[in-house]
Amino acid sequence: MLEIISHATLVTLGLALLIAFIRLVKGPTLPDRIVAMDLFGVLVVGLIVVLAASSGVRATLDAAFVIALIGFVSTIAYATYVERGDPQ
């Protein structure tokens, strides 16, 4: 039962990643793409957490933590670039 639900959760999260990817491709400005990448980070953390809990491989939780950390730092760095330069 839980296996079916965890698969449904993973498929829904994958769909969300796909939709965010459409925004990443479409743009139109650089901040739109940064928002999409930020959402990517959170969605991938959710994906890894669900995978870790349903498969029982606990070590991947550390990877989720690192991805959350890198996502935050990269968002801040991109925002610094946007504030200095041309948004197109």
Binding site: L13, L15, A16, P31, D38, L61, A68, E83, P87
Partner: protein, 117 residues
């Protein structure tokens, strides 16, 4: 019992994450997109983390899940604020229907909002 709770929370969390993505796709400008993504994705990830904590149950995993949750809860609003501030000062265009822009450059002190009819 634990499995049922986990399933409900996971389904809710994934639906919130999907709604965040739909908001990022459908909203009209950067600022509304940013607010859809930060709020809904934080809620969705929180639900997924609660489900994972229920499912795993041992102390080491619980500590990791709680620290991931606390980190995301602290950093997502900061990231959203920084993106919004950067894109505003980089003159990213606002949505046509925006009613009030309190920081527009030609506004004087005590100026009434321009676009409200």
């Amino acid at each position: 019992m634990t499995d049922i709770l986990t399933g409900v929370v996971w389904l809710a969390g994934s639906v919130f994450a999907l709604l965040a993505a739909v908001g990022v796709l459908r909203m009209p400008d950067v600022f509304t997109r940013m607010q859809a993504s930060t709020k809904a994705s934080t809620l969705g990830l929180g639900c997924l983390l609660i489900g994972a904590a229920l499912q795993m149950g041992d102390f080491a995993s619980l500590i990791r899940v709680v620290s991931i949750g606390a980190f995301v809860l602290l950093t997502t609003p900061v990231a959203g604020h920084v993106i919004a501030r950067a894109s505003y000062f980089a003159d990213v265009p606002l949505w046509k229907g925006t009613l009030l822009d309190e920081r527009r450059r030609d506004a004087g002190p005590g100026d009434s909002p321009p676009n409200i009819e």
